[in-house]
Structure formats: C-alpha cells, structure tokens
C-alpha cells in the first residue's frame, strides 16, 4: 500500500489532486529539496516530478537511485522544454553499457 506523489509547479500538477494523487505544489528549488526527506521515507511508492523540480534535486535523488522505492519519474511540466526524463534514462544506459551510442544506432 502506497501513495503516489506529484511534485511540481501548481499549474502543472493541480489536476492530479482530484484523482487521488498526493500533490505537492512547489514554487522554488529549496522548497522542493526540503520535501525530499518526506517523499523518500517509504510512504510514497512513485514520485512524479516535473522537469525543473527534478533538476533542482538531482543529487538527492541519485543517492536513493539503487533502492526499489520510491521510483522517481520525470514528467513534463506545463511549458518546460522536455528531454530531462529521456536524459535520466540515457544516463542509466551509459552507466550500464559505458556508452549510449549503441542503442541510438539500433533504433535508426
């Protein structure tokens, strides 16, 4: 039994609240970092965060990367550039294979 958390600017994440997600609207980086202890305590199985939030607390998340929960997943925020979630996975690929070029070539 666990909850799902959504962290991000209020414009992007407000819509999740009526569906039963635990929504944490944050406005700046320190606010997001202060939340992390609570998010990683085990109450939340999945934490969705918008791209700017993820970028603000990347180092904290990297520490918990080898634990099964919480699964931190990057979602696009309203009006953010995109590509951060992709980059996160590419980093994992690079960690595993030593390169991420191989996979891209396979797709082409």
């Amino acid at each position: 039994m666990a909850k799902i958390a959504v962290v991000g600017d209020s414009t992007s994440v407000a819509g999740f609240r009526p569906l039963g997600f635990a929504v944490f609207p944050v406005e700046h980086a320190e606010q997001a970092r202060a939340l992390w202890a609570r998010l990683s305590a085990g109450e939340y199985g999945v934490v969705f965060m918008t791209e700017p939030v993820y970028e603000a607390m990347e180092d904290l998340i990297a520490e918990a990367m080898d634990q099964p929960v919480p699964a931190v997943t990057v979602i696009p925020g309203a009006g953010s550039a995109g590509g951060v979630g992709e980059a996160k996975i590419n980093r994992a690929i690079e960690r595993a294979l030593g390169t991420s070029v191989l996979i891209r070539e396979e797709e082409d």
């Binding site: 039994m1 992007s12 407000a14 039963g20 990367m65 099964p68 929960v69 997943t73 996975i89 996979i103």
Partner: protein, 213 residues
Amino acid sequence: MTKMRVNPNRMELLKLKRRGDVAKRGHKLLKDKFDELLKEFIARISENRRLRAEVEAELKSAYGLFAVARAEAGRAAITQALLAGEPSELLDTSEKSVMSVHVPIFEQRELAEPGGYSFSTLPVVLDEALARLAAVAPRMLELAEREKAIELLAAEIERTRRRVNALEYVLMPSIAETIKDIQMKLDEAERGNLTRLMKVKDIIAAQEAAGEQ
C-alpha cells in the same frame, strides 16, 4: 601483473591451483549473468523510449486542456475546483526478481472520481482534462515501473561488469603468474638437487676408487 607473496612450495601451489579453478568457474558464471542482464536491459530500453514519448505527449495535451479551462473560467475558479480530493492509497507495490535484481511492481487501484465542483459554473473542458489525466495515469505508472527497473538493472550491470573485469584482468592473471613462478622455483630446486646428487655420487665413486687402489 603482480605476483602474490606466497612461499614457493607444493602446498601453496596446490592451494593456488584450486583458487584458480574457482576463479575460472566464478568468472564464467558472472559472465553469463552479465550477458543475460544486458539482454534484459536492452529489451527494455527501446520499449521504454516509446512509452515515455506517448506519456509525455498525452500529459502535454491534458495540460493544454487545463489551460483552456483556465482561460474560460479564470485561474482562481479552476484552482479552487481542483482543491477537492484527498490523497489516497492508490498503489499496491510488490517486488519481482529479475536476474536477482529486485524490481518494484506497481499495481494501481481505482482512481478517485473527480468531482466536488460546480458543473454549472465551470467549463466542460475541465471534465475532459481530468478524464484525460485519469486515462494516462496507468501508463504513467507503467513508465515509472519500467524506468525504475532500468535504473536498477543498470546499477547491477555496472557492478557485475566490475566483478567480471576484476576476475578476468586482475585475479586470474595474478594467480596464473604466481603458479608459473612457483613451478619454476620448484623445478629449479629439483635441478639443484639432481646436480648435487650427481656430484655426491662422483665424489663417492672417486673415494671408492682411491680405497681400492
């Protein structure tokens, strides 16, 4: 490659040979594990890329609908409407073992029914936006599950590769070299012994010859 500091005798030689065999077996096992992990990993990656693109596109379209709703009814009204609802336990988590990596499995329960706002004052597009979010939620969870699995697998692959390399390029060559070194020293001692025996035999023969005369 560095030699180990051991006494060059038969006892150590035997021990090292046994260690070498174990290392070789371990290396083979780890290498198999590594290959299998890699297979799992690569199979997941391209699938994941597609899923992520889909989820991102759908989320963005839902955001677009919310923006339209805000434009129609005003930011304050929408914000207030969306305040309804309590965080609930939406998730059943369990674990599955993939090549002895524990990856989480998320099962989603029924989402809360959005409501608690006035249908007469708020635009219908808000309902649509919420419905779209609700529709994408299961796939967001699938994405979370897959990405976590990929990250955990990546960590395990890195660890396994290090082990394989340490065995292959450090431990096994160093054992092999030490074995060779001990063997050479033992052979050298053997030869020394042989010449000494021959020498002693010559001396004894000379003495006997002198005694007979």
